[in-house]
Each structure stands twice: as C-alpha cells, then as structure tokens.
C-alpha cells in the first residue's frame, strides 16, 4: 500500500497534517509539528507542494489512513 498525492487538488487546509498528528501522537494531540505529511503553500502564487516523510507508518493500527480520510478535496488517496 502507498499513499498518492495530487497537489493540484489540494486547497491547503492542513486537515491531513492534523489527522496525521493525531495518529502519530497515539490519539492524544493535534499538532502539525508531529505530522509525517507536509503541505506547503507559496504565499505569492499559491503553488502547493505535498510530501510524506519516512516517519509515516501508513497509519498502522487504524482502519484507514487518517490523512486520506481527512482530505475532502481528493488531493490524496490510498493505493
């Protein structure tokens, strides 16, 4: 399984980062600093870049990857 990313669909809301941090903290915290995925939006031209770092465990123990579930814009999915 892997998680695909589509920055063209991303609106920059960071809900994926929040969801990821919730998983990474053992369902204890919301904190973008604890997220394995990263959304960066260029303030001047809106260009969005998405990434996932090596700390991502594909949401081991969750029913479904939380970042994918949190994204309502179709900017990421599980494959």
């Amino acid at each position: 399984m892997h998680i695909w990313l589509d920055p063209k669909r991303c609106k920059g809301c960071l809900r994926c980062e929040l969801a990821c941090s919730f998983h990474n903290s053992g369902h204890k915290l919301f904190s973008p600093a604890l997220s394995s995925t990263r959304v960066t939006r260029d303030a001047e031209n809106k260009t969005i870049t998405l990434s996932i770092d090596s700390t991502c465990d594909l949401c081991a123990g969750e029913e479904f990857p939380l970042c994918v579930k949190a994204c309502v814009f179709g900017a990421r999915g599980r494959e």
Binding site: L18, F30, K46, F73
Partner: protein
C-alpha cells in the same frame, strides 16, 4: 486545559514587559474567544481611555475549538475600543495565524502600552520577544509578512500585521492575517498602529489535546458528513463562495439590497452592469480556490489579473468586494476592482469601511462639494476605477484628500461643512451594508453593538435564512435575539459561518468532547447573551450610546429604494420603533433609554456589571 493553548500572553509595550496568565482564570465564566476579550475590555479599560492612548487594550482571542480537526475552526476575535465612536470594537478573522498561536501555547494576546519605536512581537512556545520593526515601517502587509518570514528562515511562521493605513492611524485600517484575511471594522488596525506594533509573528510546535479523543473524532465525522452532503459544496469548492453563491448572475442577492449603489443612492444596479462583474466574468480571473486552516469548504477564490495596469494576484474576492469596489462607486471595470481588493489588503485597509468613505467622496464630487482642486486632480466621477485605486493609496497615506477621509466620512463631512446627510454610517462608523430591503439583515446591522457589520447576528444569507420574505418585518426582533446569542457562541468556539450545516447541538458535542466540559444548549446561549450584554455595557459606559443610536442613518431611514424589484421599499418608522421596543424587552433593557437594568443583569449573573454601570450613572432607573 484540553482544547486550549492554556495561557494568556500579556504584553505592555510601554514598559517592555511580558507576563503570562492561565486562561482558566477567565474560561470558567466566559469560555473563550470573543467573550473573554470583551470581558477584559470592559473590566480593565476605564471609560475615559481614548482608543489611541497607551492605556487602551488590543485583545486577540483564538476560538476554543481552533487547532483541532473541528471543521473550519480557525477563527480569531479581536476586541478593542472602536476608533470611530469609542464603543466596543470587535472583529473576527480566519486564516492560519490563530491556530499557530494555540500551538505556541496561547489562547489570547492582550496588548497594552505604546512602544517607543515600531516593534513586532515574536511568539513561540519557547519564547516571546519584542523586536525592532524600524525596517518594516511603511511596508505593506505583504512585504511585512515576507520580510519577517525570510528573516527567520521559516515558511511556517504566521504573521498578522498592519499596513501603512494602520501606521498612519487611518480609522478604516484593519489587521491583516496571512496576507489576505482581514480583521475589519472598528479600526483595530489603527489601534495596533497607535501602539507602534507593526506585526505579531507566531510559530508554534506544541499540540492541542482533547478530553475524549474517540468521541471528538466521531463528532467531527458527523459534522463532515453534513458538510459533504450540502447541495452546493461541490460547486463552492470549485468556484468559491462568490462564484457558487452570491456572485452568480442569477443570484437573488443582487436584488435584495446587499450591495448599495452609488453611496447608497439606490440598492439595485441593473442587470447589464451586474453582468460585467458577476461569476460569468469572475470565472475568467479565478485560477483556483483555497482554504483557511482546517476548513473543508474552501470558499476563497484565488484571483489573478494576468497583465496590464492592474496586474495582480492573491487570495480572495468576496460579495463585499463586488459592493466595495464596484456598485458603491458604479465601477464596472472588474480588473480595477480585483486590483483594489488586493491593494486594500496590502495597505491594511478594511474594504467595508474604507470604500464607504470613498463612495461618499464620489457623491460629494457629483454634487460639487469636492472639486479636482480638492482631490489633487483626481476625477471622482461615478465609475472611475482608476481614481478609486489612487484614492485608496491617498487614504492609507493620509495624503491630500486622503487625510480628509481618514477619520471616516462623518468627520470628513463635518470638517467640510457639507454632505453629512448622505454619510452612510452606523453609530458614526462608516458602513458598507444596505439595510432597506432585507429587514432582518438591516435591523441586525443597525442595532449591532459593534456599530454595523452584517455578521453580528443579522438575519439573511444562507446561514440564517428564515423562510420568510426578505422584506418581511415578521419576527425580526425575536429571530435576531436568538442569532445574536448564537453568533457569540460561534465566535467563542472559533468556527466559521461558511462551514455549512453546523447546528448549536453540533458545536456543543464538539465542545464537550474536546474540553470535557458539559454545557446545555440553554447554558451556551446564556453565555452568548451575557457576552452581548458586556458589549452593550461597554457602549453605555464608553460611548454613551442609548436608544437614539439604534436608528439608521438619514438616507437609509428616509429615502426609498429607487429601482429594481424592490423599487419604493422603505423602512417604516413606526415598525422600527416597535422592533426596538421588542428587542429591548427580550434583552431586559429599558425601552425608553435602551439602558440595561439591574434586574436584567442580575438575572444573568452580571451583578458586577450592574454595579459598574450604576457607578457611572449608566444603569436604567
């Protein structure tokens, strides 16, 4: 404290002192956000304190649910003294800055004093610093944000700042968060400028906990289901709010008085002109939509004029924009209007207030009260978008005629000795909104303690649809009384009107599971009522407002709508009086004066407020 940052940051810029308080000291009584800010303003500011004196306070308060996955919870309330009239100043803004503040461990920042030279604050979970901002003096909000971010080498630093307008104490100055989110109204940007505070930069790496994570996530899921099932959600995500809702050519909103024309001479623009700025045209300038923090709606268009004199791009274009930069001055040139939208954000001008002063100047020009000699050569004929842009710059810099307009249209008219009868204002504050057609919308705007603004419980728009005819007076006071309370609750929690489908019960479930604190619907609404009463008390004490201040300005009270489907629509004076009587009765206020009563306040547990009002002779006998 679950769902809170946990602390309040106090900054005294005169003494260069930084101190901290536990949020809990206020949260038990006032929960958070707007209500805590308002209490601090009422409790700590003496009535004689001027908005621009060092003793005045500037209060930032982040919503209780902000920083969690609660849909769209990101908003910040900003309270201070209203620069137009000395009453309560209050604004509310989205973006990313507020949640970053919570990740730095703070729910509020209360600023007092005045720095000797321009400074900015840097706030993180590890340190708070007052830093020199001499190099940022005169810079736009966009330049300021970029410079601060670059100096720290951290793209995640979130910045709220003022532009030249705030530095020059222009009363229509706002505070801009994250380049494009404007905390407008009340002149809070001028208050910030009076403190020599150019910006607040925030970086937070801590986390927000919730009391019952599984229950909270279930509540989030339930809320998200509603959001995703909304019939317009797909379109709004694609086109933004303007493109999907209010800006559609066929939208009824064009007819219902939300966009006054030519300084409020009329409330209908005509289909030919509307077609030049509506979605059918705007779609050519929208390249994407973007979201605020944690928002599943993404109502914000990214607008771009690719080339020419008005080349610009950035976040935003609202219904207000089509009023402020188009209908108000009869401007059908969409490119100049989009440019003006982004320019006002850069200059740190609130489009609602600033455009109103400018449209008043255009009418003065029409009537010959202002000439090219007065305007520095600007042709202020209706429809001149190029002059509008130049005038916004002059306003922000207090240059020439800009200085005349910088204290608001009412003061300008008094200085000029002419034109006061067509100043569009609420309690002395320039006001964008039309009030003659939608009676629930208009009544809410005029009686609002924050002196106008349509997001203070006004009835209308898709989030407060009443199922009654738009120009019906039926049940307006009763419905407004409810929505005024509900809006306070929303501002306490930091949720957004544009996340559709949220009921009070939904908010309560999110709040309870996040904080572990259990309040009933009635208890929540009572907190809303109490906070509304704090604003009312502040106005009685600081501005001396009474019943006479709850009437519309001359033009809107006395002139009918001139054209369109609601041609001839007026405000009935007798009904207006009756609505005031009914609203005051619901609040427990004295009908003759509108002042609060001891009985009414004590019923709400506000004996301390009643005592204070009595001390200053502002309690109804």
């Amino acid at each position: 404290m679950n769902s809170y940052g946990g602390r309040i940051l106090r900054v005294d810029l005169s003494r260069e002192e930084i101190s901290f308080q536990e949020t809990k000291a206020y949260a038990d009584r006032w929960i958070g956000g707007r209500a805590i800010n308002t209490w601090i303003c009422l409790d700590e500011m003496a009535p004689e304190v001027e908005w621009n004196s060092p003793e005045s306070l500037l209060c930032f308060g982040v919503g209780v649910l902000a920083g969690t996955l609660a849909p769209g919870a990101c908003r910040v309330s900003i309270e201070c003294k209203n620069v137009f009239n000395g009453g309560i100043g209050s604004s509310n803004v989205g973006g990313f800055w507020g949640t970053e503040l919570k990740y730095a461990g703070f729910d509020h920042i209360i600023v007092k004093g005045k720095a000797k030279q321009p400074v900015f604050l840097f706030v993180s979970e590890k340190e708070v610093k007052i830093l020199d901002a001499s190099h940022l003096k005169g810079k736009t909000t966009w330049e300021t944000e970029a410079a601060i971010r670059e100096s720290f080498g951290d793209e995640r630093i979130r910045v709220t700042s003022i532009g030249p307008a705030g530095e020059n104490l222009v009363k229509s100055a706002c505070i801009i968060c994250d380049r494009a989110s404007a905390a407008g109204g009340s002149g809070c940007g001028a208050v910030m400028g009076s403190k020599n505070l150019k910006a607040i930069a925030v970086r937070g790496r801590a986390g927000i906990s919730v009391a019952d994570p599984e229950r909270f996530m279930k509540a989030v899921d339930e809320e998200m289901k509603k959001v995703n099932q909304w019939e317009f959600i797909k379109e709004i995500r694609e086109k933004g709010y303007y493109g999907a809702m209010g800006g559609r050519l066929e939208s009824k909103g064009w007819e219902e008085g939300y966009r006054p024309v030519k300084n409020g001479q009329d409330e209908y623009w005509g289909r030919d002109k509307i077609a030049k700025i509506a979605e059918n045209v705007m779609q050519n300038y929208r390249t994407a939509t973007v979201a605020c923090f944690s928002c599943p709606t993404a109502c914000r268009p990214w607008t771009k004029v690719p080339e020419g004199n008005y080349s610009v791009e950035g976040e935003g274009w609202w219904n207000n924009s089509s009023n402020a930069f188009c209908t108000k001055i009869d401007n059908t040139d969409i490119e100049s209007a989009i440019y003006a939208h982004h320019l006002t954000n850069q200059l740190g001008l609130d489009m609602d207030n600033a455009s109103q002063a400018i449209s008043w100047a255009y009418e003065c020009y029409e009537k010959g009260f202002l000439t090219k000699e007065d305007t520095g050569g600007l042709d202020l004929s209706w429809g001149n978008g190029e002059s509008m842009i130049k005038l916004f710059r002059k306003l922000a810099l207090r240059e020439g005629i800009g200085d005349l307009l910088a204290d608001g249209a009412l003061q300008a008219a008094r200085r000029l000795g002419k034109g006061e009868d067509f100043v569009i204002h609420v309690k002395g504050q320039d006001s964008l909104d039309g009030v003659r057609i939608n009676k629930g919308w208009g009544f809410g705007i005029v009686v609002s303690p924050v002196s106008g603004r349509h997001l203070r419980g006004s009835l209308g728009g898709f989030w407060l649809t009443r199922g009654k005819k738009v120009n019906s007076y039926e049940d307006v006071p009763r419905d407004l009384f409810y929505s005024q309370k509900k809006k306070v609750v929303q501002d306490i929690l930091g949720t957004c009107s544009y996340v559709y489908g949220q009921t009070l019960e939904d908010w309560i479930e999110l709040f309870s599971s996040a904080t572990g604190r259990h309040l009933t619907k009635e208890q929540f609404l009572e907190i809303g009522l109490k906070a509304h009463n704090l604003e009312k008390a502040f106005n009685s004490l600081h501005a001396g407002f009474d019943r006479s201040d709850d009437y519309p300005c001359d033009r809107y009270y006395n002139e009918p709508v001139k054209s369109g489907p609601y041609q001839g629509e007026t405000l009935d004076h007798e009904i207006w009086d009756n609505m005031l009587d009914e609203l005051y009765e619901l609040h427990g206020w004295d009908k003759t004066t509108s002042l609060q009563t001891r009985k009414g306040l004590e019923k709400l547990g506000l004996k301390d407020v009643a005592d204070k009002l009595e001390t200053f002779g502002k309690l109804a006998p």
